[in-house]
Symmetry: C2
Subunit: 113 residues, 2 copies
């Protein structure tokens, strides 16, 4: 009833703050604002697959400058917080921003902070 609803609760918001309390994770979220500018185009051949804007982990890893394992972990922290969503296609996992949560987060900041 809540990840669906309109305003985040404090617990969810704190989880988002934790996700964003690391510069590299913020960078990742920012990169994902403009996938076409920040990542090689091959990743986007999935437009037909219904996950437009998604970027695969290895591309993110290169830009972020992290090890593979840390990249994967950071992405799942972002996923847990709701800031991104993911879809596995073949052997790749694509991540992209979850604009719904990001909007809810903006509302939370405006109303509750």
């Amino acid at each position: 009833m809540n990840r669906e609803s309109n305003i985040l609760n404090d617990e969810q918001a704190v989880e988002i703050f934790k996700a964003l309390s690391n510069q590299i994770r913020v960078n990742i979220l920012q990169m994902l604002k403009e996938p076409d500018n920040n990542f090689s185009p091959q990743a986007h051949v999935i437009k037909e697959k219904g996950f437009d804007g998604g970027v695969c982990v290895s591309d993110i890893r290169i830009k972020a400058g992290l090890s593979q394992s840390t990249t994967s972990q950071y992405l799942s922290i972002l996923l847990q917080s709701g800031l991104v969503e993911m879809k596995r296609i073949g052997q790749w996992t694509y991540y992209r921003r979850n604009q719904k949560t990001i909007e809810q987060f903006e509302k939370y900041i405006g109303l509750k902070i």
Copy 2:
């Protein structure tokens, strides 16, 4: 040139995210939205002293349910991040929200996140 200017840089924003990555610190910031509803009135006899809305540490401590030392530390984390400002008046230190930073933070979220 920056704490004055209009938009936060990433470093300042991450410092704010860290400050807010703890539920109790979020609670404190929220309490300070309505000092008159959340704290005993004695604290506000400083209206003439030019720090309207400020609340003393011991009052915050009681509401937050923390030890004196932790309360003091948490408040200085919030202060460092810019989310609150403080003024020492006599033997008391009053803290209140720093609306300027909070607005800049809201803008940051809207533009950069």
